[in-house]
Symmetry: C3
Subunit: 336 residues, 3 copies
């Protein structure tokens, strides 16, 4: 059963009413059945975009997108999502010389003011805990788009959606699944949330998580402890991608983030060691998929893009569908 | 009767035709009956937003929002306003490295070009007089969103709308009203416009304006002279908020703006002296309202937010309704 | 016949099917009959904007506007164009601290990701050849909004549209035309494209191009060579605007761009020598038109604005109509 991070946060279930008006801080708020609902709605959204571009269920609705940290991809995805449903958005760049920054206004006041104009808020902030703090005082739904070393729940949701979708996993047919997580697992917020959500989602009969990272960039103990609570999950440390790629169903690649290293030298030493290219791909199953939260630098060679198993751009697209579903659910228009 | 600042500016009356196609530089263009029209339309806008989020009367219309000075709040409010009515906007940030800045283009040319794409312009500029200059050559309505030490008419309009609305003032029942203006009254463009508009609006049988400011930051003589022309207005200087708060119907708080002071020391000396907190509130009438143009820093303690007399977030929301009304009027779709 | 710059680029003809899903890198892709189609659709767009503000043929469609170089005018024009047709846009400022810049992502990946959310991309980039490179891998139509010293095709298209429109040129009645190109002809991408498109468009029975530029800023030989292939075009160098203005049908003025000069001194020496004012205008035909890609600085005196032959703001407006037509064509909704 899902453990909600904070007792004051709503639990999001298979009932659409549990989502309406709710904020999303963490994937731990979502029950396995709630996840199923979100993904069903997401698939419906994909169908709508494919056949008619979008619809008008968010007509006259406004989303505030507030980013105190650069994230073109996440902000664009949310903005596209609200527009595909006929809504509009107001973007506040908290990095620039906005009133908030220049005039000493508190984060809470900035959001409280924006809510006077909008129907929901997407918030990204570099300080862990800040989004949770805002949710406590907000009068409209707030969606966490990343809060420092905290969570980035919509990324985890679109990752799991993509795995289910690409591997055709249904609730009636739960597979054994081997997922390799590759790269900087220490700082990668994305892989923390993904490991936890995969375990918690109960979508597999047996899940093997293989952690493959440079020394010093291992998956944090707290994440391992969370995952260890689930009986059907095995966690393994591997040091060589080539050894394990043959058994993988999912290869989840992350950036070795330059900004996480003390020096450029330290970065250059490891960056090449975890690269996915056609040679690696030749050792993998024909049914395996490669995912990446993007942007990538060198960790997936562009030669891999043409491989049908390269699912990262489809994953990207799914991000919009999942965010459309999320917006529709919290704004009470999922069932049009 | 209203005195129009510049004879070439249109007078805005109870006739919707007087607004259609007009620019707004100053509240002095608006007659008392024109104000009543604007506020009636504003209340209609609030009803529309509350019941259905918005409507489509500005479908296919584009607003240009041009800001040569940071003002997230004002730009967001105008943007929300046009979108709630089904319109869209193009935002030009005149502070950044826009063509205008880099290529030596005149302000007039920048606006003239934008008008080739849009139906109306919202303009904020740090130089007093610049918005008026643009209005003289513009081919579409221009709305002043603040020009340096000049006017910020939509702020004054939403302030007066909020006072009328919160205190349930109607034209048939004009009250005696005591308004305390607190803080930096010298530099606060907002309080200058508010004092003038309150006097000019003829909405009170008797108006007492109590100016409460740090030494050296008193209300300018020009504003006092303007107000003094109205027989039913009394102006008083008070030095201690606690002494007058008991009689106030409206307590209008403004920031002691750090950027107006010569040094940080000079700022620190006065900033704490004009703070509204629960202790002050306990001395005020139960019907009094607290207003603030926002953003606030320390001048209203957050403990006051829960007090039902704290009207500043409702005031914020009213800003969108008043701007919706203004856009509808100048674009000729107030009567849908 | 049109020579397509790159054999892999689609040729755009009088058939709407040739435009649907196509990218536009260069005006050389467009046949004379294709140009006629584009301009017919553009005129229809003007009619729609004039009578009803716009329409909804791009409802649910999203345009990505990606600018790695400041160009307020071009980005606003495209944004206005998509919104006038009921669509929406996502803007990515590639200059700022976007993910792309900070995280080392390739231009190709940035565009490929954005395409996951959008239906077409407008791209401006300072490096010549970059837009062409993107077009080769793109999955959705890409419209070149300027690539360094390369092309800026929509500018050339709106320039030629304006000349045809202002001078009432039709395919049935091809005139003799004298066009003076004035200013920095060496660096002015705009005049390069214009000269080529005028020659290639076959809209004149006889075309005389008169190049009038400061020493050292002459029209490049490559452009002259391209134009020289067309039998009915004559190219002339003139050193004095006053000598030729009397015979001009079109006077196309460009900025002497300060940023192109080695020093401010070098700039100051020439900037005043190519100024259009009322005195110059008094020597021109009553049917002549003055064009300018804007922004202007001193090269056209503001006193000329009131002259009915000053067509540069109409030219500006035409930019939106031509871009509306282009978007409608590549997105397959030109014939609504």
């Amino acid at each position: 059963m899902a453990t909600t991070a904070d007792a004051s946060l709503p639990t999001l279930t298979e009932s659409v009413d549990s989502w309406k008006g709710s904020s999303l801080l963490s994937v731990t708020q979502i029950t396995p059945a709630g996840l199923q609902l979100l993904f069903d709605v997401s698939q419906g959204m994909r169908q709508i975009v494919r056949t008619q571009g979008g619809d008008d269920r968010l007509q006259h609705r406004l989303l505030g997108t507030v980013f105190y940290e650069a994230s073109t991809r996440t902000s664009c995805s949310f903005q596209a999502a609200v527009m595909r449903l006929g809504g509009k958005f107001i973007h506040v760049d908290g990095q620039g010389n906005s009133s908030a920054n220049k005039k000493g206004e508190s984060l809470e006041d900035t959001i409280r003011c924006l809510e006077c104009y909008t129907d929901a808020t997407v918030l990204r902030h570099p300080v862990h805990g800040s989004v949770g703090r805002v949710i406590q005082m907000a009068t409209k739904p707030v969606l966490n788009a990343g809060d420092g070393v905290g969570e980035h729940p919509t990324q985890a949701l679109l990752d799991v959606f993509t795995i289910r979708d690409e591997l055709k996993i249904t609730n009636n047919d739960k597979p054994k699944l081997t997922v390799v997580l590759l790269g900087d697992l220490k700082h990668g917020r994305t892989v923390h949330s993904l490991a936890k959500l995969l375990a918690q989602s109960q979508m597999t009969a047996q899940l093997t998580l293989q952690y493959c990272s440079p020394p010093g960039l291992e998956m944090p103990q707290t994440v391992q402890d969370f995952v260890a609570k689930y009986d059907n999950v095995t966690q393994q440390y591997v040091t060589n991608l080539a050894e394990v790629v043959a058994t993988a169903d999912v290869l989840y690649v992350t950036r070795i983030q330059r900004e996480r290293f003390a020096s450029d030298d330290a970065y250059e030493q490891v960056k090449g060691s975890y690269v996915v290219n056609n040679e690696i791909m030749s050792q993998a199953k024909s049914s395996m998929i490669v995912l990446h939260p993007l942007p990538r630098v060198d960790e997936i060679a562009t030669e891999v893009d043409a491989d049908p198993r390269a699912a990262y751009f489809r994953q990207m697209e799914n991000g919009m569908f999942v965010r459309m579903a999320l917006l529709a659910l919290v704004l009470g228009v999922a069932q049009k």
